[in-house]
Subunit: 329 residues, 2 copies
Amino acid sequence: MKKTVSLKDIAAKVGVSTALVSYVLNGKMEGRISKEVAARIKAVAKELNYSPNQIAKSLKTNRTHTLGLLLADIANPFSSQIARIVENEANKIGYTVIIGSSDEQVDKSRTLIELFLNRQVDGLILSLPDHSEEIVTDLKEREIPFVLLDRYFPEIPCNTVAVDNYAAAKIAVKHLLDNKKSKIGLINYDTSLAHLNERLRGAVDICQGNEMVGLVRLGHIQEDVEAALKSFLANNVEAIFFMSNLLAISGLKYLNKHQIAIPEQLAVIAFDKTDAFDLFYTTITYINQPLSELGAEAVNLLNESIKRKGINKTVYLKAELVKQNSTAT
Amino acid sequence: MKKTVSLKDIAAKVGVSTALVSYVLNGKMEGRISKEVAARIKAVAKELNYSPNQIAKSLKTNRTHTLGLLLADIANPFSSQIARIVENEANKIGYTVIIGSSDEQVDKSRTLIELFLNRQVDGLILSLPDHSEEIVTDLKEREIPFVLLDRYFPEIPCNTVAVDNYAAAKIAVKHLLDNKKSKIGLINYDTSLAHLNERLRGAVDICQGNEMVGLVRLGHIQEDVEAALKSFLANNVEAIFFMSNLLAISGLKYLNKHQIAIPEQLAVIAFDKTDAFDLFYTTITYINQPLSELGAEAVNLLNESIKRKGINKTVYLKAELVKQNSTAT
DNA sequence: TCGATTTGCTTAAACGTTTAAGCATTATTT
DNA sequence: AAATAATGCTTAAACGTTTAAGCAAATCGA
């Protein structure tokens, strides 16, 4: 790379001190600097195509204007959409984002967070995997600004932005009940993650006593979903509630392959959606998560906590039902 | 944030100079430092939970171990997959990646690149939009290490990693011809981007003289694709070659909605794929791009150019045909 | 035994900024 | 006319590292 232009070069060319150049270029000490000199400095800066070295700036100011975003799994369209939104929102207020994916592993989460901190990010936005409580308490103790996004730990009070999963799941199941589906199969992960369990709690709560609800808790593999569906179908379940987008994709693949007629033979509803739904032979009813708001809230809350330490705020956003053909009667 | 631990703190506690601490912790000057002192320094570093300030390091060494990745459109699954792979490959060899999306805009590309450079990235991986030649020549002139990925400019020699689009498109159309489809509709963007035009050139070249080929060049909107398909169908086209994954998605949505029987009524082949294909009622034949190799090659080539300036290498990778049901006879 | 080498460490400058403090001028007050 | 204030700039230290150069003491070779 060619020699880069620094304050010193401008100062030398104009014949002033680097301090003055810095003041002028940052618009500080306005009114204490002569118009002419200021103009000369700006002109020379432009002429030399000066661009400040953010590294040096950061070293001095202790601010990098960089955020670390830790996703649970970048391959999940939910994650990549969130990434895109967070990045945009962050850019709007002058932050760059560096992204990492833990692939649902606690160790990898820890490593990535330390990497982010090494790079002196100003704050963190985290979607953590199962069993990451220790990470959260550790960050709190170190007084590092962060906000949990989507995944949360109700027992640890800290900045959190998430969907009200309990309410949303209730809405979903209510919709099935309204459509006279009373034998409902729930498909969820076998996890202790609060957001997923809240969905479950909501679904079960609204059914209380009246309906038959089958529940299958799974690992992350296609075969598990297939086995679950097989068993539900054998038991004449009338509707399936997929409690995540990936579960829905796996399930729909199976239902597609086995020519199950949706919604005649089986109603289907999903929590969260995917572009892939568009190519299914019928439209899928789903719970729409407010991704843009989630991202925007997270960035803004983080920005606040960076500016004034010790903020502790929890934001729950409403998700809404999108009625489509897969639950039609 | 609590006061962070620096070399100075360790030096003070052990009672040596910061220089010595630096040497020990970086494993330099091995053999010139007494085992005992080295051990004490390492112990204290661990005890204080020292973690080096990369910003300071970067300022001194002029290396940030950060790469800038500019994508054409992060919403495109191709981009997000590439992002994931590049990030992984980069991490393997000690780089962090910062990502930006130009949304196909030249201005935004330029802005993001300058942002990356402000942050002193060591190098750039770029998928540029149409009409970005000037950006490329500018970077060359400034001797900034970069590699073009996926999108390339044949007339400007520079580091490039891409698929051999010409050959791949030939394979795709050959497959249609082999399956006795001779009235072929090509759907492509109206663009001057070389990678898309190479696909077109390949498709046309292999048909030479024998077959009827209809071509529609589009903007980026769903309506265009629908109109194109409508017209092709009216003209009894036997097969459609969608020259990008997004075009294929738009097209399949339409074909789905209008109950066109694939492959009986119309054969379909796509360049590049999407997870969404899995939910279509039949499996889609497509050209599979070697994403992992693309990402890995790009990162490695960039790493080489960072280490020794002036490298100029072009890598074209082979894409292969994945035969599925949508082109069956 | 004495000069040369090796060993084990320190000093200090540098990277490119920011910013408090200081110092001449010039302008304003009394 | 002297004291005070405002203006326009500079000096220099600092941020946390790295690293060339230097220096004293211990060890070596003859």
